[in-house]
């Protein structure tokens, strides 16, 4: 019995279907007034600008 359960458990474990591996997160940002769905299409200068933005406290 014991052996059997272990066996079944193992089987289930190997059958767990994983989704989304390799997929990144989408990061939408505004650049010169337009939104861009992914940072990859920014040119180098704008990528640097986006990286260096600091938040403005609203207090």
């Amino acid at each position: 019995m014991l052996l059997d359960t272990q066996c079944t458990d193992k089987k289930v474990a190997t059958e767990v279907k994983m989704v989304g591996a390799g997929q990144g997160f989408e990061r939408t940002r505004r650049i010169t007034g337009y939104l861009v769905g992914t940072l990859e299409r920014f040119n180098n200068a704008k990528r640097a600008e986006e990286r260096e933005r600091v938040k403005h406290g609203a207090a």
Binding site: G20, A21, T32, Y34, V36, E40, N43, K46, V54
Partner: protein
Amino acid sequence: MAKQIVKRDGCSVLFDSSKILNAIAKANKAVGEEEITATGLLFVTEEVCRLLEARSLSNVEEIQDVVEEVLIRFGFSKTAKAYILYRAEHTKIRDAETYLMDIYKKLTWAPAKEEDIKRENANIDGDTAMGTMLRYGSEGSKFFIDNYVLPKDAAAGHANGDIHIHDKDFYMLTETCCQIDLIRLFKKGFSTGHGYLREPNSIESYAALACIALQANQNEMHGGQSIPNFDFAMAQGVNKTFRKEYVAAFACFLEVKNELDAAEAVARTEVLLQGLPYQPTLGNGEAFGQALLACHGETMRPLLAKTHLHATQKAIQATRRRTYQAMEAFIHNLNTMNSRAGAQVPFSSVNYGTDVSAEGRMVVENLLLATKAGLGNGETSIFPVQIFKVKAGVSFNPEDPNYDLFRLAMETSARRLFPNFSFLDAPFNAQYYREGDYNSEVAYMGCRTRVIGNVYDTERQVTCGRGNLSFTTVNLPRLGLEAKGNTAAFFTLLDERIDLVFRQLLHRFKVQGSKKVYNYPFLMGQGIWLDSEHLKWEDSIEEVLKHGTLTIGFIGLAEALYALLGKHHGQCEQAQALGLQIVQHLRRRADEKARETGLNFSLIATPAEGLSGRFVALDKQRYGTLEGITDKDYYTNSFHVPVSFSIAAFRKIQLEAPYHALTNAGHISYVELDGDASKNLEAFETIVRFMHAQGVGYGSINHPLDRDPVCGYIGVIDDCCPRCGRKEGEGVSEEALLQLKKQYHDVPM
């Protein structure tokens, strides 16, 4: 005598003196005077060969040097000059080939993520066939413009980074952008050049045709396209839809109530609704009901009252549902439809918020709701850029008729980054405003362009049918560096640059004015551009183009101030004062030029996409890496306080607001908000209201907007998705996703 000569590409060919003779003859012929006889030609050639032998020269360049030398020595100075020019032309063409081919190689073989040149415009996919084709055309065109079209000083100024001529590849072709009045366009139907479209008759077709108009115009201009009065325009579609829904519901009720067949019910409805003083609309339910009853006898009234009530309710429901779907489709279309040979979607903007009619309000409410809901899988839509018009008495204060829409706009923006907010009460916008006339309401085009004032035709200070013709930007940090801390020297240099830009803008205007209506079958042929409806197919467009703006822009005020004072305007009052003085000077010069020429010279806070990196790279080469100036990969946008500078939102707005009043061709200010803005609406509204109070013209709030495409979560994602727990690139078990699906409706599976 050398038997072989070495060509530029390194390979050797047999020496042939007749080639030298021919080249000299050609140059001599080009001069037209100073004729060299056949014997003379032989004599000169012989002398060239003798010298080559004596000096044992065999390289093409050296041979050409000797030809020049001999021609000058023999007194054929004009021929020598022609020969030098001829040689220079050839060098240019050869350089062109190498230069262009290098670029073409990069465009062809390097992936966009490695090649900056392929990411010049973030909304064009540089890796696709049509994207690459566009870039081939663009690069070839730029080369042509630089070498054969531009005045030498402008070409040099652009190449060395003193100025930047925007959309230079379109120099010979078209204008930047236009604010399209759909109400005018739809009135009699229109043609896109690929077929005629009738006047639309439902909200669905209004929205669909709006997309088509944006698309058709985008293909004739190099900048974005804007609808300045979206709510007013779409309201007419809602109106038509409501009327049809009302009549249909009215008939339906009669059909059931009086046990008529469908055709009878329709005929009955027609008779009953005849002869009334007005049509049923979304907003006039009560009044229309009374008019209906008044029109018929006592016995009819109870039935009519019930029918009217039912028809009104049904029609409102159906119209709302259809308007939502139409707005949803509008957004979807603008994010997927092709322009420019399929390489990108049209750059579209829509302005709205001031139509207080029930129809206009329904449009805006549903556009906002659809925007908030997102695209098919909940993604944020990139287009259109949406601009909500904030106006006291209309939308700004809690007692205003559209205040509820303003609230919804903020809620939507806190979730989706759009809409942005335009402030019609800012004095420089309010001066044009006439109540109830959308044509007097300032609109902004996505990139921030603003067109309303009109020195060419002061009776027509309006938004519709006008746009920017072209704009060119001055590199302010370079001037700061050249002036070496001397403010007076800075202004002298600035004046020189301004003169150069004005000359160049006028040169371009001449090119643009040489075009005919048939070059713009939609923009001019369909009467979209102001006054173009009076033109014939073969007419020149020069006169009507004068409604457009010729614009000078600037970049890197912060770095320029740093170069002059060692501080930027976020850091010290003195720098802010000088910054304002600089921008005031630019504006004054533009105003003067406008008065002098009768053309709409104006000043823009340049939106700088590819440019911010180009200028700084050139200045780094020239001056090295200088702290606070060239030590980043970009120059700060227009008059903005540097993005990396720590400053409170309110202070930033206060410092930037006065520049809005000066930049009459466009401006925008951003605030970067931390965390999930949709959970902090109060802060969001406080900031927008502060912008209004400070006299900002156009502003928006940035906040992190991330999405996990696997579980559909939208919000801030740092390392790890707060909903499904995966890290970037990790997988999630299908079982876990199924569980999440039960909890959240937007899990895409």
